[in-house]
């Protein structure tokens, strides 16, 4: 392998070189800017995590599995996974192998940024070696892999359902430019490498193509324009990259270490949030997942469009999207990158200024403490359970049947747990409510706090510091009682029961199995079409501030349809709000898990 030119440069590399330098400078500037925006504590934690061996290894593993192999997409849909990973992994391999080629054959050229990319233009093959043949074969092989991915991407534009997607994102103008230049890069690379294959050598793809073209093209004049076109396509792609969804390629490599370092979104635009927004690949998986997509007019209110509007700085739309969301968390669950849409929205809500700021100084916790019993199990019904008295009655009845001694924290209505305030983005008020409730709970001397509302459960489990007091949801607690034999549940093998995962209990706290086990103890468990991590919000969520209740009807109906996929006799849920919301529209009985166990024991 020798260098064909007297000087290792040709003007055609300029478009690529300019584009590449622009992207590198832009990313470097972006990294510095984001690091500056982090608080001192966050920055320290992030930088330390980079050198800590365990997190560093996790970072490398996650980047390899998620950015290159797209493991999460493979799990979702094989076609979708193949399409994305073939382009990402194939391109990565071509770049790596390009560098290997240069290092092997012309080691003194490896410092030139463009050389590995346009290697075949600059060299002439003098003798064929086995090493060279393997490398050329791999180069052609990965180019073929990418081209398959590109063809699939084109098919996806017209028939997205083959890829398991009903709706895809509507591309913006620059996204389209980026998309077409990306599509153009690899066919152009194939052409240009084929045209020079008789000089530089090639493999199973480029050599036959070279032979075919030389049958009817009389001279070598056509290959320089093709190399130019290849470089220009690369240049355009690089030049628009920071302003398109393709920014996710560099941003995701920053997102993964930051997430592994345990950073959280504190400001809706700065620091970690910025990385999250830039990491959104705009694939549109969240559009189908969003419960609001039951209504056509709400299609553009899902996370992918929130990210786009944040990048554009369209304030009215950002506010609108942030307020409308039900915060069910499904978009984050299905997102292959893991963009935390609900957290972005909460941060946005927390930026608001209010003329009236609630404060609870006048509430005296002593009034509540005085009414407490001394039992070790303290039951907090919560606001929603108070409005569904059947559930409260059943919980107490089950506790009695199992012989559990308990006291009720809010027999005549108590304070709110703080989660609804938190969902409105008002941290200060939330902290105050947490402080009040904590003082009541600690004064009770209990060792277990039992909750029948997942909304309360989530904040008690995740935000309260109760020092050793066990926080437990009634579905988990009753399942334990039934397994220990303290609660005798009669199983009815004829009764088909579908279990609906409440958002706050399932995606919010990761509790999926215990309620199912408890339901199975009373009847035959059937699943909805979408279940567990992908269950559909009932539409009643307190997360949404602006979505009106007649508009939520379609969401509830869609969710009900989903639950009825296994033709159950009743729908069982573990959330008073879900059971009340479903209850309004369902034609089959909707029961809480406590009501079910109470009736069967």
């Amino acid at each position: 392998m020798i260098e064909r030119m007297s000087f290792p440069f040709h003007p055609f590399v300029l478009p690529f070189l300019i584009g590449m330098s622009f992207v590198l400078i832009y990313c470097l500037y972006g990294i510095v800017k984001i690091l500056v925006q982090l608080t001192r504590d966050e920055r320290r934690r992030f930088l330390l995590s980079l050198i800590k061996p365990s997190t560093a290894w996790k970072n490398i593993k996650d980047i390899f599995l998620n950015c290159l192999l797209h493991v999460k997409l493979w799990k979702r849909n094989r076609m979708l996974g193949f399409m994305h990973s073939s382009i990402a992994f194939g391109w990565f391999m071509i770049i790596v192998l390009g560098h290997v080629e240069v290092m092997l054959f012309l080691p003194d050229r490896v410092h030139l940024l463009y050389y590995p990319i346009f290697f075949n233009f600059f060299v002439a093959e003098t003798e064929s070696t086995i090493g060279g043949a393997v490398l050329f074969f791999l180069m052609d092989f990965f180019l073929l892999v990418i081209l398959t991915g590109i063809v699939l991407a084109m098919v996806k534009r017209v028939r997205s359902r083959i890829f398991g997607m009903r709706r895809t994102t509507r591309a913006s103008f620059l996204d389209t430019v980026g998309l077409y230049s990306l599509w153009a890069i690899f066919p152009l690379r194939l052409l240009s490498e084929s045209f020079t294959a008789h000089i530089s050598g090639g493999s199973f793809l480029t050599v036959p193509m070279n032979w075919i073209f030389r049958q009817f093209l009389g001279n070598d004049l056509y290959y320089l324009p093709t190399w130019w076109a290849y470089s220009i396509a690369l240049g355009i792609f690089m030049a628009v990259l920071p302003f398109t969804r393709y920014m996710h390629i560099p941003a995701e490599m920053m997102l993964i270490p930051m997430r592994n370092a345990g950073l959280r979104i504190m400001h809706p635009r700065k620091g970690f949030a910025r990385v999250q927004v830039l990491s959104c690949p705009g694939c549109g998986v969240c559009i189908d997942a969003c419960p609001m997509s039951a209504r056509k007019e709400n299609l553009k209110d899902c996370t992918v469009y929130l990210n786009r509007q944040i990048r554009r700085g369209n304030e009215p739309r950002i506010e609108e999207i942030s307020d409308k969301c039900l915060l069910c968390g499904k978009c984050t669950e299905v997102c292959q990158v893991g963009v935390d849409g609900p957290a972005l929205r909460l941060a946005q809500r927390s930026m608001r200024k209010y003329g009236i700021n609630q404060h609870y100084n006048i509430i005296d916790p002593e009034g509540y403490i005085g009414a407490l019993g001394s039992a070790k199990v303290l039951y907090f019904a919560g606001c929603m359970t108070h409005l569904t008295p059947g559930i409260k009655k059943s919980v107490l009845s089950v506790l009695d049947k199992a012989g559990v001694r308990y006291s009720v924290m809010d027999p005549d209505g108590g304070l709110c747990c703080g989660r609804p305030m938190m969902m409105a983005g008002r941290w200060e008020q939330t902290r105050e409510l947490i402080r009040l409730n904590t003082s009541i709970i600690k004064a009770s001397g209990c060792d277990t706090l039992l909750l029948s509302c997942p909304i309360c459960y989530r904040i008690f489990a995740q935000k309260y510091r109760l020092d050793g007091i066990r926080v437990v949801h009634h579905s988990v607690f009753f399942n334990e009682l039934s397994r220990q034999g303290r609660l005798a549940v009669k199983r009815d093998p004829e009764l088909r029961l579908a279990y609906h995962d409440p958002c706050e209990l399932g995606r919010g706290c990761g509790i999926y199995d215990e309620p199912r086990e408890a339901v199975s103890a009373a009847g035959v468990l059937v699943e909805g079409e979408k279940n567990r991590e992908e269950s559909i919000c009932c539409g009643g969520s307190l997360g949404s501030i602006t979505l009106s209740y007649e508009k939520r009807r379609d969401i509830t109906l869609k969710s009900l349809m989903n639950m009825k996929a296994g033709s159950p006799d009743a729908i069982i849920t573990a959330c008073p709000l879900c059971s009340s919301t479903f209850g309004h529209y369902s034609d089959i009985p909707v029961k809480d898990i406590a009501e079910l166990l109470d009736s069967k024991s």
Binding site: Q358, M384, P420, L542
Partner: protein, 112 residues
Amino acid sequence: MDFGFNLSPSSAVELDKVDTSLFRELCRIEPGARTCIGCGSCSATCTASEHSGMSVRKLLLSLQRGKMRDVEKMLTCCMLCGKCTMVCPRGINTRRIILTVCRLYENVEGRI
């Protein structure tokens, strides 16, 4: 001299002079505010009512009567728990009403 009872101050509201701009702005943002039938379900269930006399029904009424201080006092203990929304027979988005009023108060002069 304390007789154990006294005259209550006049509660007459001169509707011609009342400034209802805040209520109108609220209705523009959340038209549901106009559909309240004053049934009082929200008052009956409110978590904050025993602490600050909160009630969405009263809140809307006070806004229409220009009793801005009453509104502010009521709202100080609201916990946004959403019980009022859950029981409202008209399906009014009461949490949005509360948050909107809290926001609009930024421009109300003479706050407590």
